[in-house]
């Protein structure tokens, strides 16, 4: 029988176990000294003759930068004690196993790494892993300055991390290894530091078992966590922070329980025929022989069915809408209250308005609940208020949402138009903020495509509509993306915006991306209306007339994405041969109940709200759509996620209600007649 002494500098975690591996019986005795280095050294000297190999654990991991090894002076001393029994610290196994484990995990779960942000609580202890992740096109965020020095800074590249390690090593090297005071990553104030938010919003977190003993973890809901190995206690601690997935690079086989790298190196040493240091080849050989594979802790499914929350803010589109609130409902009949000026309403603080319950992903079964907040400004009031006032109200609501457990916050209607379109609010809020513009754009195109197909006036060549599409408000965030995406599916696109200089850039970009599409632009939509088969209006005109409905081509589909509408109900009624749809509303999956009046019925919600819900369902607590410049790649991605979770077009909506098939048929027949007229 081979005997291994495992001396841990960490807190009491003693055990005595015997395992049988590859026909060899190995007894492992762990003695933990609770940070008493001199005791650990004395134990090595006392017991060296009784064991075949000694493994030391809990010490800082040595790191290699530019061929130079940086190791803590105490580790150096222990490895060089003048004794006959070998002392190992796991570095030989770690340098081979960890990169292999990351590649293995990537081959099994590529979605975890590609393009994701990986957060390291202490990156300097994981340098071999970082090189592998760099190759996998991951972004990285290292919280080393906070972990080691309580300085809430985040390092964002390997080279900067290496520099940080080099600079601080002389200081860290002199520190005595002692009980690390719990580093609290769960503090609320950290979430208010914009740069630190980048770390907290990482998609994947990497840490090791030892660090788990010293960390107060932030809320990891929806995140993936990768650890070197887990004990029962650390697994429980990790579960408390509710990650969606826990992947362990543990050295677990059917025969062998969970141990860290240094003990594994000692085991490999004991299994070797020759008592020589464990090489990379030995590590690979034993990985194969013992069939060691990283594992996934199978608990997240249970967690996934728990309800997660997201916040969303709406505002009244008019004073009538505001008085729908239960607290104000009784005032509706008082004319005096109705006469309250919009400026007086600005004095009201934001408030909790209601909930959207029962949203359940078709793909994962995960449930989320939306907390709906409202501010009292109407669009008019909002645009005339100082933007700082609106920011302050939104940030205050975001704080409330965060306090009530929301993981992401969505801005609805005009709240995402004010100022810099969510950027400032996001930087001040304790949770990620999204405007929902990506799904608004996607759903607009769903609705447009659906209506065009139903009207059936535009022929298709392959996947390209042989007709003319116009985007009014093409330089806005939804308009820009709609223009780019339409140019990929239509033979001609006309871009309309009040500032022509902004259109030149956009047109150039479209020409470059979709050379087959004819692109023209202008400032007056009326000039082109008679040629257009599809018109998308997405402006901030606040109800002002933006086009002359009489000039619209018969059979045309107008998607009015703006709120308030660009096309009034009266205008729409003037042209029964034109289909005016208020796109942008979608249906959420599950048995959805909206407990407040958001101006829509049943399971139908605004697309921007749906985007926030999708991000919560996906566990992607990130500022997905921000600023006026949204990426068409994100629109494509949210389109994919929406389909995955079962979010779909809620049938096409008119100004007040759903547009039925009969109404479409009527519009179609009227359009046919109108087209036949000379």
């Amino acid at each position: 029988m081979k005997e291994i002494l495992n001396l841990s500098i960490g807190p009491l975690d003693n055990f005595d176990e015997t395992v049988k591996l590859l026909g060899e019986t190995i007894r492992i005795k762990r003695l933990a000294v609770d940070f008493n280095y001199s005791l650990l050294k004395k134990l090595i000297l006392k017991h060296e003759h009784e064991f075949d190999v000694i493994a030391i654990t809990g010490f800082p991991t040595p790191f290699k930068i530019g061929g130079k090894v940086f190791e803590h002076q105490q580790v150096k001393e222990l490895l060089n004690l003048p004794i006959n029994t070998p002392v190992v610290d796991g570095r030989n196994v770690r340098d081979t196993y960890i990169p292999w484990a990351i590649n293995y995990l990537n081959s099994k779960h590529p979605e975890i790494f590609k393009g994701k942000t990986i957060g390291f609580f202490l990156g300097s202890s994981q340098l071999p892993m970082i090189s592998e992740l760099e190759a996998l096109d991951c972004n990285m965020a290292f919280a080393d300055p906070y972990f080691l020095m309580k300085t809430p800074l985040v390092i964002k590249s390997k080279s900067k991390l290496e520099k940080f390690c080099k600079v601080n090593f002389p200081f860290l090297n002199k520190l005595r290894i002692r009980q690390f005071q719990n580093r609290d990553f769960s503090s609320q104030w950290l979430a208010h530091i914009p740069k630190f938010k980048d770390f907290l919003n990482s998609d994947v977190f990497i840490l090791n078992n030892a660090q788990l003993n010293y960390l107060e973890l932030p809320d990891l809901s929806g995140k993936t966590v990768i650890v070197d190995y887990l004990t029962k206690a650390t697994l429980e601690k990790l579960k408390d922070s509710k990650p969606a997935k826990i992947l362990s690079c543990t050295f677990a086989t059917k025969e062998m329980p969970l141990y860290g790298t240094s003990l594994t190196e000692a085991i490999f040493y004991a299994l070797k025929d020759e008592p020589t240091p464990v090489s990379s080849n030995d590590t690979i050989k034993f990985i194969e022989k013992l069939n060691i594979r990283p594992t996934q802790e199978d608990w997240n499914e249970k967690h996934d069915v728990q309800t997660e929350r997201f916040g969303f803010v709406v505002h009244p589109l008019s004073i009538d809408h505001l008085l729908k609130h239960p607290l104000l409902r009784s005032f509706r009949r008082y004319k005096q209250v109705r006469k309250l000026s919009e400026s007086a309403l600005k004095l009201l603080p934001g408030f909790h308005y209601g909930q959207v319950k029962g949203i359940k992903s078709k793909a994962t079964g995960k449930e989320v609940t939306g907390e709906i907040y409202a501010i009292s400004e109407t669009p008019k009031a909002m645009m005339s208020s100082p933007k700082e006032n609106i920011y302050a109200k939104l940030v205050s609501l975001a704080n409330d949402a965060h306090a009530s457990g929301c993981k992401i916050f969505g801005l609805g209607a005009y709240t995402k138009i004010v100022g810099d379109a969510g950027v400032t609010v996001n930087s001040r809020a304790p949770l990620p903020v999204t405007t929902g513009n990506s799904l608004s754009a996607a759903s607009t195109l769903w609705a447009a495509s659906y209506a065009i197909d139903k009207m059936n006036f535009v022929k298709k060549k392959g996947k390209i509509y042989q007709g003319v599409a116009m985007v009014v408000g093409a330089t806005g965030s939804i308009g820009k993306v709609s223009s780019i995406l339409l140019s990929q599916g239509w033979s001609e696109v006309i871009l309309i915006a009040p500032r022509p200089y902004k259109l030149i850039d956009l047109a150039d970009r479209i020409k470059e991306d979709s050379p087959a599409c004819k692109v023209s632009y202008g400032t007056n939509p009326d000039e082109h209306l008679s040629r257009c088969d599809l018109v998308i209006t997405t402006t901030s005109a606040q109800g002002k007339k933006i086009l002359d409905i009489e000039k619209v081509k018969p059979g045309c589909v107008i998607c009015d994405v703006s709120r308030p509408f660009d096309i009034s109900a009266e205008d729409a009624a003037k042209r029964p041969d034109v289909l005016v749809i208020a796109s942008g509303e979608v249906e959420l999956p599950g048995d959805v109940e909206v407990t407040c009046d958001i101006g829509l019925e049943g399971q139908v919600v605004y697309a921007c709200l749906a985007e926030t819900a999708i991000l919560a369902l996906e566990g992607r607590h990130e500022s997905f759509s921000l600023s006026r410049d949204i990426s068409y790649k994100k629109v494509i991605e949210i389109d994919r996620l929406a389909r995955k979770h079962g979010v779909k077009l809620s049938a096409i909506m008119g100004h007040d209600c759903e547009i039925t098939q009969d109404e479409i048929d009527l519009a179609k027949s009227k359009a046919k007649l109108a087209r036949e007229e000379p």
Partner: protein
């Protein structure tokens, strides 16, 4: 019933064994090879006592495989009495005796096939850093006691809690400061309060000066408790607890200290009264001279911590589970304790 005892040749062990002889079919005593002759001498007359050679400090505990298999096959209880007891012991000895020793015994317990109870003798001192009432069921804090003995006993107790041994019921006993028995007061070494007694004996010849002064300063907290327990009372309680343990599956801890606990000041007062020195005892605060002064008068500095420890040990669990145990009275025992200490010191001289 078959019982294995570790540390049977110690101050408590040798008094306890005669008390439980009739309750067990076989009592295995784990004896270190060097102590075997002495053990044979002590226990030769007991037919149901079997000596097995071994050492809890060695990985395999037993010297002979045959002994190991016999014990593993037969015993239904283990009483782990062994351990190092010396406030001045060094870190390696403390860890080896009180942590590694416990770990090895627990590992042995895991191998036992019929084991039902694991009885572990710890010390009240594991909670001496706390203030006010300390309950037996209080969660242990991994406190960094300044003396290696207490720290290692605390770690040993944590190990007992942490180690899962199937359905085995674990019982932890925390005796107070064990002093001489109530009949003779005999002791085997000077420790704890005996350092003070020793000092007081030296002062007896200066009785007139002290009486003239009228006060006797003693560095301690007014609330510092001195949870003394005479060794015979402890053994009676321990015997009862291991022979008739409760059936609860949860690990239970008992403070084996008197219901009424005196403090250091009262103890010194009682001793001075017994020695017929009339003066009032005045507690004084800790100060920079204390360490040096204590060194001068032969009191180990490790005691300072206990002189100011303000924990008061609840005995609720003990009284609930073993209400029938007879309480003892320290004030009544003081004359015997002084006599025992005098005799020991005289013999030692």
């Amino acid at each position: 019933m078959k019982l294995l005892i570790t540390g049977s040749s110690g101050f408590i062990g040798k008094r306890l064994i005669p008390m439980i002889l009739e309750d067990y079919e076989t009592i295995y005593l784990l004896i270190r090879p060097k102590s075997v002759p002495k053990a044979i001498e002590s226990f030769a007359n007991y037919s149901n006592v079997k000596l097995v050679e071994g050492d809890i400090l060695s990985n395999d505990v037993f010297l002979n495989v045959e002994d190991l298999s016999e014990v593993v096959e037969n015993i239904d209880s283990i009483l782990h009495l062994a351990g190092g007891y010396d406030l001045q012991m060094n870190v390696l000895d403390a860890y080896t005796h009180n942590v590694v020793g416990v770990q090895n015994t627990l590992e042995l317990a895991r191998k036992c096939k019929r084991l039902k109870y694991f009885h572990h003798v710890s010390t009240y001192a594991v909670n001496a850093h706390k203030k006010g009432k300390v309950f037996e069921a209080d969660r242990l804090e991994n406190y960094s006691h300044h003396d290696h003995y207490t720290r290692s006993k605390l770690q040993g107790e944590i190990l007992v809690h942490k180690t899962h041994i199937g359905d085995v019921k674990k019982r932890i006993y925390r005796p107070g400061i064990v002093v001489g028995d109530t009949l003779e007061g005999s002791i085997e070494k000077v420790d704890g309060p005996y350092y003070f007694l020793n000092f007081l004996f030296k002062l007896e010849k200066h009785k007139q000066i002290i009486e003239k002064l009228g006060i006797f300063p003693i560095p301690c907290s007014k609330k510092a408790s001195l949870p003394l327990i005479p060794v015979d009372s402890l053994c009676t309680w321990l015997a009862h607890a291991i022979v008739s343990p409760t059936q609860d599956q949860v690990t239970k801890t008992y403070h084996f200290v008197g219901k009424e606990q005196i403090n250091l000041r009262q103890f010194v007062e009682m001793c001075l009264r017994e020695m017929e020195i009339e003066c009032s005892v005045v507690p004084v605060r800790s100060n920079f001279l204390l360490r040096k002064t204590l060194q001068k008068i032969g009191i180990p500095e490790q005691l300072i911590f206990y002189m100011f420890s303000e924990a008061h040990y609840s005995t609720r669990q003990r009284r609930t589970d073993f209400g029938e145990l007879k309480e003892f009275s320290i004030p009544e025992s003081v004359p015997t304790l002084i006599k025992g200490a005098r005799d020991y010191l005289k013999d030692k001289k």
